[in-house]
Amino acid sequence: MALLDVKDLSIEFSGLKAVQHLDFSVEKGEIFGLIGPNGAGKTTVFNMVSGFFKPSGGQIFLNGMRIDGKFMFEINKLGIARTYQNINLFNNISVMDNMLIGQHCRIPYGTFASFFHTRKYRDCERATREKARETLGFVGIPEREDDQAKALSYGEQRLLEIARALVSDPCLLLLDEPAAGMNPTEKDNLARLVLEIRKRGVTVLCVEHDMKFVMGITDRICVLNYGQRIALGTPGEMQRHPAVVEAYLGGGE
């Protein structure tokens, strides 16, 4: 059974068919790429998988369970975490606080403990902070723990977003254009980080424009154009696929 199964997915915005009858599935442990020209509907697909939009048609299955139409926070609890195209951090609070919120659905104490700071509260808080530190170290920004999120550099903010998504122990991580705005060194580091993430047992679904980045780390790629799937296969196959080439470079002449 595939980890993520997208069947016949469609969405319409006031008559504009942004995504039409999309089918693909992501196997556990894969690094799966979703590419296509601008406006192809890639982020829209992400938004549907993560719960931000409700699809007008089709189904999305996570480990066999239907998740389309659920709230974002429910889907997060089920094991999908994401980063955003435009960085969506909690800007005015510290990096550590961002990481603590990221784990929100995994913290086991309830309202009573919140009000009265019981022993359970203290133990859970300690464990949560340690986990946060560990993840910050994993992505490479352990020293920034106490700084305000908006004080971080652009590259560090992107890493923080990834760390915040990782800290909730997702089974599927959605990365929305993670390499945007990065220089080649940063991109190499990012690629290595994604491979490390896969080693931790997290499946990755990645939208990206940078071809070298995508071809370099993904196992399979799905290509979208005008909201429809035009190709699905390994990176090598995609580079030779005529429809893909046409979509990116235009036909004719």
Partner: protein, 355 residues
Amino acid sequence: MKTLSDKKFSGKWLRRALAAGIFALVVLVVVMMENNILFARNRYIYVLLCYIGIYSIATSGLDVLFGYAGQISFGHAGFFCIGAYGSVLLSHSEWGVAKLGITPLPPILSIPLMGLVAALIGALLSKPASKLVFHFLSLLTIAFNQIMYLVVANFPGLTNGFIGITRVPPVKLQLFGATLLDFTAVKSKYSYVFLVMAVLAALLILKQNIVRSKLGRSMIAIRENQTAANGCGVNIMRAKTVSFAISAFYVGIAGGLLAHMVGFISPDTFVQNTSVIFITMLLFGGSGNMTGPILGALVITFVQESFQSLQDYRMLIYGTFLLAVILYQPAGLVGLGRSISGMFGGKGGANRGAA
């Protein structure tokens, strides 16, 4: 590894010691005044302290909603009303439940009970608005305020209408008929000050606990970035509803304390203007932290008392205050303090985090 957490830890204890010290000082001053050790006995200052304490409780509650969860309510005077009228009707010997033949509760019980009722009503009220665009909550709270005012003003059989209810019972702690603590004192509010301060201290500790917990963080998350909060697993609707209920609880308790202090309530206290005054106090003092609401309550109450002669201009002044604060210093007095300390090399700027 460098233990930054240790540094924060000592900072936390220092602040706690400071807060406790200030409380102890206030208590000491009040006791000394009463026993003629310090200045001549000026009874009016006790009333003032009670008002400051009560408004601090209410403003702290509103801060949980606005400063931490980022939601706005223009009708919290409605919860003030529920706390006040509710507690009176439950404990009065002639009005309310007494009319139905049920023995009234002692105020020491009816005040917290009505606080919980206010919380429940707050939860019910904000639930439909929690899924909708944020201004629906504003509309709902305005309507709520209007409705509460109409209820207490237009049903004389229940609440004696515009005339109000007098002879509100005083607060005593009694067990099996024996009086352990008596906060009455009709002539002077000296003993009542202790009650208000004790409740304020307890509720401030509760607020501090909430803010530093998972619950508090969920509120801060929806204030900062609702979409990201959603994506991090925070149940947005629940966070909004819970923060509203908590704020309603605080304001309800404050209302109950007010009723039993003054000994008299009437509908005029619970109009829309009172909600605006709460907001003015909160914004003026600074929202999103522990001291701001208290500072705001302190200063605005003083302003109110000092300018008794300008009573008619009161709301105009508040409105202008509020506008000025919003335009020029939305972080309030606390924000001003932080930027000044920032100028002197401290960790300035507004880090409106869980601290």
